[in-house]
């Protein structure tokens, strides 16, 4: 709840570990808010929720944030640093070998843009950088807000592959989207939001 406006008004949800959930809903239904809540990025002011063993009201949200990967509407990097520098920073912070940076950049087809300053990237390239960052981190819980937006066809295909791979490795994924998932092999559990609550589809 922010400024007295309840972002979510009735969400009763159980997401099992290792599953793929697809959150849909009209504009303003509360999808982004729900994902932000799960990521521990916004506080929970009423009701109860537990994510990955951390209670969202009384628990240590920093603990939680360390275990989730978040891909939001806007890319989230240091604009003045290059793609490589951003990834190296993340790798160091996570104690990953720096050599992985080139590997993940190649996976999202950004190897040609490694030395471009992040603020000069196109919208889709930013999205790809966001994905590269997540690939580097390999979190337990992936929270992806409209991941297809501004990706081109090739990018979307890559994303679908990534998703299957992630699920195969046992991680939990929650995706919000306006379009259905493209890959027919993915069988998401559908959650439909309207007016801040879950409605049966």
């Amino acid at each position: 709840m922010r400024h007295g406006f309840p972002l979510l008004s009735g969400v009763d949800l159980d997401i099992a570990a290792g599953t793929l959930t697809l959150v849909t809903g009209t504009n303003g239904a509360g999808k982004t808010s729900l994902l932000q809540l799960l990521a521990g990025l916004v506080p929970l002011t009423s009701g109860r929720a537990q994510v990955a063993g951390v209670d969202l009201r009384s628990g240590d949200r920093r603990q939680l944030r360390r275990r989730v990967g978040w891909l939001g509407h806007e890319g989230s990097f240091y604009d003045e640093l290059t793609v490589r520098e951003n990834l190296v920073f993340a790798a160091r912070a996570l104690s990953r070998p720096v050599s992985q940076v080139e590997v993940v950049a190649a996976r999202v087809a950004l190897e040609g843009r490694l030395d471009t300053t992040t603020k000069q990237l196109s919208a889709g390239q930013r999205r790809r950088l966001g994905l590269a960052w997540l690939v580097l981190r390999r979190p337990e819980l992936w929270l992806l807000d409209e991941p297809y937006a501004s990706l081109d066809d090739e990018g979307r295909t890559f994303f679908d592959e990534l998703l299957s791979e992630v699920l195969a490795s046992g991680a939990t994924v929650v995706v919000s989207a306006h379009d259905p998932l493209r890959s027919p092999t993915l069988n998401p559990i559908g959650v439909h939001l309207a007016g801040g609550r879950v409605v049966p589809t």
């Binding site: 990521a39 990025l41 939001g72 890319g75 989230s76 604009d79 912070a93 960052w133 981190r137």
Partner: protein, 219 residues
């Protein structure tokens, strides 16, 4: 903690180097402010040589405020906070790193300002050199407390204006102590008791930052 600190400090300094804000904007600003203040002292000029310490710290204060706003603006862009939050960096390390980067920037600016003060205001060179240890520590303490207050106001709609209100009272004692010790050095007085005072302040602020920064970062 130290690893995180070095990582963060390196990142901050790299961004600073890339954007050249320090070189092209902050340092010139400091020099201009110094010149203007010298000018404002009027043509009497009697006390210009002794005005050095006061002016130096006044300008340093302004520069510090600018640099803090900038240091935290880096973290504040659209989604940076959420992605960095999920990196799970040790907050104490982040604090130390940001404070270190800020301190280095302040030391560089301070050096230029001191040179300006010696050249333009005829502050005694000998006294200035004697005052250096206390100046270095004072600027370090400013960086430490500034980083805390920067985090207090980061991300606010009016961060640029709230920061000065909150930080000025905390800066004031440091500035006054720094100024007194500088003046004492110029007049050939004892500098070590002042040096002790600012060192205690530095240690106190560093400990406060290490303890409390984690609370602040959690948003």
């Amino acid at each position: 903690m130290i690893r995180t600190a070095l990582l963060v400090a390196g990142k901050d300094l790299r961004i600073e180097r890339r954007s050249r804000v320090l070189l092209w904007q902050v340092v010139p600003f400091g020099v201009i402010a110094l010149v203007l203040c010298g000018l404002a002292l009027g043509p009497v000029g009697v006390s210009r040589a002794t005005a050095g310490p006061g002016l130096f710290y006044l300008v340093t204060l302004l520069v510090t405020l600018l640099m803090i706003t900038r240091s935290h603006a880096i973290e504040r862009t659209a989604g940076t906070r959420s992605s960095v939050a999920t990196l799970g960096l040790d907050p104490a390390g982040v604090f130390l790193g940001k404070a270190l980067a800020l301190a280095i920037e302040l030391w560089i600016t301070g050096l230029v300002l001191l040179a300006g003060s010696v050249l333009l205001l005829h502050t005694s060179l000998h006294g200035t050199v004697k005052a250096l240890p206390s100046i270095i520590v004072t600027l370090g303490a400013l960086a430490a407390v500034g980083t805390i207050y920067g985090a207090l106001t980061a991300g606010d709609s009016g961060a640029g204006t709230l920061l000065p209100v909150l930080a000025l009272p905390a800066f004031a004692p440091l500035l006054i102590a720094g100024e007194r010790s500088f003046r004492a050095a110029l007049n050939g007085g004892g500098v070590w008791e002042w040096w002790l005072i600012v060192t205690v302040a530095l240690v106190a602020y560093l400990s406060a930052g290490i303890l409390l920064y984690g609370v602040l970062e959690e948003s």
